[in-house]
């Protein structure tokens, strides 16, 4: 039973870390992709979206190649005493990389849905683009960005492939709900724990989807997407 508790707690912790760590890159990349025109934009977009279409196991392998002891950055990190693979941080990184495309896409479409002329009005009122982002674009896009955060949370809860490659299956450290379910399938008398984990997973995912739907509606209301037709 403690194994169940620890897996649920770990999963939620990792998912929350993904939500927090992803805010800045999601907003930055989302804004750049929504509002800026530049050469190589589609390449940036493709790199960001890649983890969405790659098998998570492959994403995990790429991460291991980068962060493993013999990897591109892993050697340098090991030299200063930081070991990433098979730690809690590795589980966060794996779930983060796999979930980030959802975050960026949500932020991008939320910002794209905001009429850029609101920002233009703000500029003409003497407010710089940076402050305009905080005062106009972000508040208007916020529900959509939050919906992205909820999706990322849900996606991180279910992450398996990249996590098992980069973070392994260490109880209390990297054994999340998905890994615990997989682990318990083989264990004798693991049936009831598996069912509890599966039920928890279902409940969390369903709650996340309800939250997502509510936030998307809020975004539509905020941008007056109904009112325009009612008048």
């Amino acid at each position: 039973m403690t194994e169940v508790g620890s897996a649920v707690r770990l999963s939620i912790e990792i998912a929350l870390w993904c939500v927090v760590l992803g805010v800045a890159p999601a907003l930055g990349l989302g804004w750049v992709l929504a509002r800026r025109k530049f050469r190589g934009k589609s390449i940036v977009s493709m790199v960001v979206l890649a983890p969405l279409v790659l098998p998570p196991v492959v994403t995990g392998l790429v991460l291991l190649d980068l962060l493993g002891r013999a990897g591109t950055f892993g050697g340098a990190l090991a030299a200063i005493g930081v070991e990433v693979p098979f730690t809690f941080a590795a589980a966060v990184i794996a779930a983060f990389v796999v979930g980030l495309p959802l975050y960026v896409m949500a932020a991008r479409s939320a910002i794209e849905a905001v009429d850029p002329r609101y920002e233009e009005v703000s500029w003409t009122l003497g407010v710089t683009p940076w402050r305009t982002f905080w005062r106009v674009a972000l508040p208007l896009a916020l529900p959509g960005v939050a919906a992205g955060a909820v999706l990322v949370f849900a996606r991180a809860l279910g992450e398996f492939g990249a996590t098992v490659v980069l973070a392994g299956n260490v109880e209390g450290e990297t054994r999340t709900i998905a890994l615990a379910v997989y682990h318990l399938l083989d264990a004798p008398r693991g049936g009831s724990a598996t069912r509890i984990l599966a039920a928890t997973s279902l409940a969390l995912s369903f709650a996340a989807l309800v939250g997502y739907e509510l936030l998307v509606r809020w975004q539509r209301r905020r941008l007056e997407l109904h009112d325009a037709y009612e008048r």
Binding site: Y118, E120, S122, W123, L125, V127, T132, P139, L140, R222
Partner: protein, 220 residues
């Protein structure tokens, strides 16, 4: 009408700008000291674009814009003052009130104005009873009036109005035009008005221009 040489300098608007808009180009050639001018023309001719050029929102436009001795754009010298440094009061046709802010917060958006100033401007645009409302609960005419108030409270150096009274009824239109005219006179605030309504143009403007075949020409 300008009363002194100083006023004439304040009211000087010089804009010689071209903008390629797909197949249709727009040629703006204005040089005036009239405190208020109206630009009219058929829809799609580029009236709103003229205002966007003056506001600094059309980066692709090339040429020269000088307002009251201050150069806002000079493509040959690579001068381009960005919109946030121009201090224009742009009132777009569909008002574009910030939907996440109340009327009061919309009015006070540009800077922290003291309450008496906000109340004075709210009264000027007949919006004093709307301060706690949300933009989504306003009629089209109310939105336009609040947008005008928001622009005035930014203390602009040039007022740019895009069909500002289109959604107002005739009586309020005349009254508001009258109030706005004296407000602008008292503060030596030049204005450029885009409208297809000759009555609006007559009520507010001292000089009239028209867009014909992509060129802004004076109406004689």
């Amino acid at each position: 009408m300008p009363t002194s040489a100083d006023d004439a300098a304040v009211f000087r608007i010089e804009a010689r700008v071209t903008l390629a808009l797909g197949a249709l180009g727009l040629d703006v050639a204005l040089d005036t000291r009239a405190p208020a001018l109206a630009i009219s023309g058929p829809s799609g001719a580029g009236k709103s674009t003229c205002l966007r050029i003056l506001a600094g929102l059309e980066r692709r436009a090339t040429g020269r814009v000088v307002i009251a001795e201050e150069t806002w754009q000079d493509s040959t010298r690579r001068v381009f003052v960005p919109p946030w440094s121009r201090r224009v009061g742009w009132v777009p046709q569909d008002a574009l009130l910030f939907p996440h802010l109340t009327v009061l917060s919309n009015l006070a958006y540009a800077r922290v104005a003291d309450r008496t100033e906000i109340d004075r401007v709210a009264k000027l645009v007949s919006a004093e009873h709307l301060l706690d409302r949300w933009p989504r609960n306003l009629s089209g005419g109310e939105r336009q009036r609040v947008a005008l108030g928001r622009a005035l409270l930014a203390r602009p150096r040039l007022l740019l109005l895009d069909e500002p009274f289109a959604a107002l009824d005739r009586a309020l239109r005349v009254e508001l035009a009258e109030r706005l005219r004296s407000y602008c006179r008292d503060r030596s605030l030049p204005l450029v008005l885009v409208t297809h309504d000759p009555a609006d143009a007559a009520a507010l403007a001292d000089e009239a221009y028209e867009i014909r075949a992509g060129k802004v020409v004076a109406v004689v």
